[in-house]
């Protein structure tokens, strides 16, 4: 993975010192609340329901064992022994004391990490495919480009005070696992007819209260121009994006208002001035040098998969886990393993200090000392030799990290909701617990097949509810927690915004409603159709009828 050089290290160290001084001045009353707000946000610090919340960047989801150990130690020393993985490959701590945040940032800097630009109206953490470098459908490894973009975006002086937050995701595979179509900028690595590698550029996607699927404004951008093109887009947005209404300030609204074609023209015009600037041009040797940071690990060639495959035949527990929680790897004898953070009874995405520490060890033992964070709030050990799988499963199971439900209804995405977030309308963690209790039969979950259930506690859609097959959105109805259901959304290649089912349902009716939806699915399903396929074939009516009829 990318290792800091002296230059990178100086930047994060000086940034910590700067924030330490800013915090000191705030606590001494020299900085007003209004003045301190943008400064703390750009260092990842929110003021939340109970305490400050610190959001730490995990650039493109990649962590070393040493970094994960530091996160464990932060959880233990400064928080209440756990952290929360988010849909944007960040980790959040819910209980740090403001006075201690500079110390936390210093600990992070010690392992080449930071919390810069994880909040505020600036370019946020760059996210990517969690199977980067190992997926068999990969066109090119996105990580070197992510790191180049990360550096370009870090403390970019022109774009520190954008109209609103700005999110960039990069996918290097044919199957989009990075939700690029619902980001402010989505970058898809592609090859043109001549076999040359380039980027397809989408803009204006986003969730929140106005969910919009991004539009392609360039189908093939030579990679040498990647940074200058991003700079052009950001400049147009910085100058023209609305600043009078924060709900209309995202780039998606600007693209909508101008029309994608006019927006594209404006960007291309700006780009004319930027495209040949040497400092924004990625020469082949620049890219080659960055690629060296992401070498292929030293894979074994003597892996014997036969005993493991026998176990798949003989052992139900192992088979279930193997089928649900491991996926194909491009190297023979290897699989990528999902570490489930969806154990029933635990808030989705939460991980304890003890689990983090143990997992750091497991990563060293089984997967070259690296861990990835997925946007579905799980972790991945990406390079596991298949003859190690049985031992790894046992170890994960002991830690409560082997729940064999990846990709099923029980693998739901869930934001912190009313329990932690001051913007929430309704709880999400307790609803997740209800759903886990109701749907606890593994065979039933497997029968339902691939199903993406996402839940957000408010319109901000941190839980990506509006691009879920089944989305659940917390709303406030006269002080009561209610839940709006949407169907048919997706954040992958067939991206779509879900359709609203009908009136919101009360909290104690959410699990019943899900059951009714799934019954409708089972009744109408043809063959091995997924929920999404059945839904798209039938439309919303049968689901609506079933749900609201049974409610009477």
């Amino acid at each position: 993975m990318y290792r800091y050089d002296h230059y990178d290290q100086t930047l994060v160290d000086e940034r910590v010192a700067q924030f330490r001084d800013q915090t000191r001045r705030y606590l001494a009353g020299e900085l007003s609340e209004d003045e301190f707000r943008p400064l703390r946000l750009m260092n990842g610090l929110y003021i939340q329901r109970h305490a400050p919340m610190l959001r730490i960047a995990i650039p493109y989801g990649l962590l070393s064992s040493a970094q994960l150990r530091t996160l464990a130690s932060i959880a233990r020393r400064y928080d209440r022994g756990y952290g929360h993985m988010t849909t944007r490959q960040n980790i959040q701590f819910n209980w740090p004391a403001l006075e201690q945040v500079p110390d936390i940032l210093a600990d992070l800097a010690g392992v080449e990490m930071h919390a810069m630009q994880t909040s505020g109206n600036c370019i946020r953490n760059i996210t990517a495919d969690h199977l980067a470098g190992v997926a068999s459908d990969e066109v090119a490894d996105p990580r070197p480009y992510c790191e180049l973009i990360r550096q370009w975006a870090t403390l970019h002086p022109e774009f520190a005070y954008l109209p609103r937050k700005f999110k960039i995701a990069v996918s290097g595979s044919r199957k989009d696992r990075a939700a690029t179509q619902v980001h402010d900028i989505g970058i898809q690595l592609v090859r043109n007819a001549d076999g040359e590698l380039g980027a397809e550029i989408l803009v204006g996607g986003g969730l929140g209260r106005t969910p919009i699927i991004g539009e392609v404004i360039r189908s093939f951008l030579p990679l040498r121009h990647l940074l200058s093109y991003l700079e052009a887009i950001l400049r147009v947005y910085n100058l023209l994006g609305r600043r009078d209404n924060k709900y209309k300030a995202r780039i998606k609204i600007l693209v909508r208002a101008m029309g994608a074609e006019a927006f594209r023209e404006r960007v291309e015009k700006e780009w004319e001035h930027l495209r040949d600037q040497p400092d924004l041009t990625l020469e082949p040797e620049d890219i080659a040098l960055m690629k060296k940071h992401f070498p292929q690990p030293d894979y074994r060639t003597d892996v014997d998969s036969a005993p493991m495959l026998d176990l798949v035949e003989q052992d139900d527990t192992f088979r279930r886990w193997y089928k649900r929680n491991t996926v194909e790897h491009r190297t023979a004898g290897y699989r990528a393993v999902f570490v489930s953070l969806k154990k029933p009874g635990v808030a989705p995405g939460d991980i304890t200090d003890v689990q983090m520490e143990a997992l750091a060890d497991l990563a060293e033992r089984y997967s070259f000392g690296e861990i990835r964070v997925t946007h579905t709030q799980n972790l991945v050990l990406a390079d596991v030799a298949v003859d190690q799988l049985p031992a790894l499963r046992r170890d994960l199971d002991e830690l409560g990290l082997a729940t064999p439900t990846i990709g099923t209804l029980a693998d739901m995405i869930c934001c912190p909701g009313l329990d932690f977030c001051s913007l929430a309308n309704a709880g999400s963690i307790d609803v997740a617990a209800d759903i886990h209790r109701r749907f606890d039969d593994l065979d039933y979950l497997y029968d339902l097949g691939e199903l993406r259930l996402n839940m957000s506690g408010c319109m901000n859609a941190c839980g990506h509810h509006n691009v879920a097959h089944i989305g659940i959105l917390g709303v406030d109805k006269k002080g009561q927690e209610f839940y709006q259901i949407t169907l048919g959304g997706s954040s992958t290649n067939d991206a779509a915004v879900g359709d609203r089912l009908g009136p919101a349902v009360a909290k104690d009716r959410v699990a019943d409603t899900l059951e009714a939806l799934l019954r409708t699915f089972a009744d109408h399903r043809e063959g091995e159709e997924t929920f999404l396929e059945t839904y798209r074939r039938l439309g919303i009516e049968p689901f609506k009828e079933q749900v609201y009829a049974s409610a009477d």
Partner: protein, 170 residues
Amino acid sequence: MPVLISDRRIQPDDAWLMIADEAPIPQEGPVVLGWDRWILEQETLRGRSDPLGIRVNGDVPIQELGPQAERFDLIALEFPVATDGRCYSHARVLRTQYRFRGELRAVGNVLRDQIAFMERVGINSFLLDQGRSYAEQALAALGEISVAYQTAPLDTLPRIRRRLAGAEPA
């Protein structure tokens, strides 16, 4: 008393006179006019030989200001609130695209914790409203972060390339 920092020094005095939109323009001496006033009165100001400055905010289209920029000795960029980031782009475009070499001055809500970013987009003077000791701190803040991934407009060496060339993976 506002304090002026320019070219990384606190300046004892400032020759520029900011002219309010309704106020008469003195016959002589360096003056800074609002954009609208300039648009309306540029014909009559054409013969003026003393230095002329212009005051703009993020609303002024940069494509209109840019081509005229070299007419001015000073462009004052107004930050009505600290979170209005449009003038950062104005500054960079003026420096890199229109090759503006005169003084770029930040005015309005100019804060100690933002002027390092302002400097790096090419702004070289800052008018601070919060008194002398604040200005001294602000001056010190310019050096808080000594490295940057982006090139400043007046840098000569392309940064990313220079750095990548020297940085082998550990």
